[in-house]
């Protein structure tokens, strides 16, 4: 397989000799920027930042399948909802500890994603987008369904409680949750980065760029596509579980089709097929609607849509693409 023999050399030449040293300053800056709100931000602002980190994880999941693998999903809100409900039901009905819900939600959503990804294999581009879109529209209805009300609480939803900081750490609930979320986000982002830099990551992108050629090179497109969908759904589900814990409440109305659209907008604005992009996307979807409401109370949605269209025309690479261009200019 040609790609296997060439890939390592390309990667090696692209990497600076000692990346740890070269980026040490940047890493310190990011670390301090992430820890700073812990001491300076008030409780509500901290909650918003926690939400931004959660959305960043969810958008990263979407970006893996849509940005890197080219399978457009407009229904990732569905996996977010499933993750949130798995967490809420485990905590409320079974009294399980909050930390155990996170891997469970990821696994359950991974399996659901595999199930959805399987028929989706037959669909190109727009078909898949519309099918996942109809999934997103159907989810609130399914959650409200009387037959499963015993578990989901129907229209009422389920209440859960924020965990206290463990080991007697001197942190408030919000501070602890912020730290936990950021730590998990960093872990997931690192994993995604490594996945995309690996042989499998190359294959995932090759299938997006030229499926037929990729298959001719020996890549199992069907298996990789469904697995990518499953991993992507799992990551988004993990974010959903975190959101249930952070918001302390799940209900069908929190997971309307607008959620899926929000994730999609966050992905485009942050940067399609970029690992760091979703972090900006998460910040965008949490803070920009607030700002938009200040500009015009009546129509934050209009501004949201206009920003989306403007990004597609002016900055198709999103914020991450802009930063990359600026960095390239500085390094010249």
């Amino acid at each position: 397989m040609a790609s296997e023999t060439t890939t390592p050399t390309v990667l090696a030449s692209a990497r600076p000799a000692r990346p740890a040293l070269r980026y040490a300053g940047l890493l310190w800056a990011i670390g301090i920027a992430l820890l700073l709100p812990l001491f300076t931000a008030e409780s509500y602002r901290l909650f918003q930042l926690t939400l931004a980190a959660i959305y960043a994880i969810a958008i990263l999941g979407l970006n893996l399948v849509t940005g890197y693998n080219g399978q457009i999903s407009l229904g990732h809100g569905a996996f977010y909802a499933v993750g949130a409900y798995v967490a809420a039901i485990m905590m409320d009905k079974f009294g399980l500890p909050y930390w155990s819900t996170l891997p469970s939600a990821a696994v359950v959503c991974g399996l659901v994603g595999y199930g959805i990804g399987f028929p989706a294999l037959r669909l190109g581009g727009l078909y898949l987008a519309l099918t996942t879109f109809s999934l997103a529209v159907a989810v609130p209805q399914i959650l409200k369904y009387k037959g499963i009300e015993e578990w989901t609480g129907g229209v009422q939803g389920v209440l859960v409680f924020k965990p206290d900081a463990p080991f007697g750490l001197p942190l408030s609930n919000d501070q602890y949750l912020y730290l936990l979320t950021v730590a998990i986000a960093l872990g997931v982002f690192l994993l995604a980065r490594n996945l995309m830099a690996s042989r499998i990551g190359r294959a995932i992108m090759a299938i997006r760029d030229h499926g037929l050629a990729a298959e001719a090179m020996g890549m199992d497109a069907a298996r990789l596509k469904t697995s990518t969908f499953a991993v992507s759904a799992g990551i988004t589900g993990l974010a959903g579980a975190l959101s249930a814990i952070a918001v302390e409440f799940v209900s069908p109305d929190s997971f309307q089709v607008a959620l899926s659209i929000t994730l999609f907008v966050g992905m485009v604005v942050g940067g399609v097929a970029s690992i760091i992009g979703p972090a900006f996307g998460g910040l965008f979807v949490v803070f920009v609607p607030n700002l938009a409401e200040e500009v015009s109370k009546a129509a934050p949605g209009v501004i949201y849509g206009i920003i989306l269209i403007a990004f597609l025309f002016v900055l198709p690479g999103g914020v991450a693409g802009l930063l990359r261009r600026l960095a390239a200019r500085l390094h010249r």
Binding site: T66, V257, G305
Partner: protein, 289 residues
């Protein structure tokens, strides 16, 4: 038995609405290979225009025709301003544009015409006909749908412009060589689809009442209908739309209940894609590589 028959007929009446939206979807798909997500929102916006005109004292049918004209212009405008510059962009960009359109148009509708649910007048004799089997509006809207579908068929089959549009969609390069203005044909396709969407909106509004998210479910049913009939076959899309209307009504009454009606659209979509992705009347596309 009478109840069953009534459900089937009511299904055909709503199916007519799905059929016209499905037809609009298929027309844009044929012309551009896009599925316009904003079709429903555009139709809702048009319906509000119609309501405004009617409330301003215009006769219903004059408002009807004027609304179709305005919608046509909006469709052409969107194609020219938003879609045309992104002609060669990847599919993801197109989906992003559609989502942006959905956001802008649906919120603009709520902003301009406010979010309250409004009744919409029906131009037809109101009340049951033929011993309660069918209402005047059901009969009238089905008739309007059939007339529109017939006109669209005649337009594509027998006029020079229709032929040029088909040529532009089928083989843009050759069409351009024989002098068809391919770009304008696409814009025209958008305009026509937008006009047909407006008709569907006006016909469905008296049944479901007018609110900014009126068409969201309808778009999904229409997509299910288009897929069922075959996304590249206008006639198939119409039959699929009617079929989905009947399935939805019977299923909602006898099987799952009204709460899970939208889920049925999802089930139909996934079912068709699993069993027969080309649809009932679609061609299986083979591509040479």
């Amino acid at each position: 038995m009478n109840g069953f028959l009534h459900q089937v007929i009511a299904g055909i009446a709503t199916g007519g609405i799905y059929a016209s939206v499905a037809l609009a979807l298929v027309m844009i798909y044929q012309a551009t290979h896009h599925v316009n997500f904003a079709q429903g929102e555009m139709a809702t916006f048009s319906t509000y225009i119609a309501l405004t005109l009617v409330q301003a004292g215009w006769p219903f049918w004059l408002a009807f025709v004027a609304t179709i004209g305005i919608s046509f212009c909006i469709g052409v405008l969107i194609e020219r301003v938003l879609m045309r510059p992104m002609d060669k962009a990847p599919v993801l960009t197109h989906v992003g544009l559609f989502i942006g359109l959905v956001l802008v148009i649906s919120n603009l509708t709520g902003w301009v015409f406010d979010y309250t649910v409004k009744p919409f007048p029906s131009p037809f004799h109101d009340g049951p006909l033929f011993g309660g089997l069918v209402t005047g509006h059901e009969l009238g809207s089905t008739a309007v749908t059939l007339v529109v579908l017939g006109l669209v068929y005649l337009f594509f089959r027998y006029t020079r412009l229709g032929l040029a549009m088909r040529a532009a969609a089928f083989n843009p390069a050759s069409a351009r060589l024989v002098g068809v203005r391919v770009g304008w044909m696409l814009a025209l396709g958008w305009g026509l689809a937008s006009g047909i969407g407006a008709i569907a909106g006006i016909m469905v509004a008296p049944v479901v009442f007018l609110e900014p998210n009126m068409m969201l479910g309808i778009l999904l049913y229409a997509f299910a209908g288009a897929l069922l009939g075959g996304i590249d076959n206008p006639g198939g899309a119409v039959i699929g739309g009617f079929a989905v209307g009947v399935i939805e009504n019977l299923g909602g009454t006898y099987v799952v209940g009204t709460e899970l009606k939208l889920t049925m659209a999802l089930v139909i979509i996934i079912g068709v894609l699993l069993v027969r992705p080309a649809g009932l009347f679609g061609r299986v596309v083979l591509s040479r590589v």
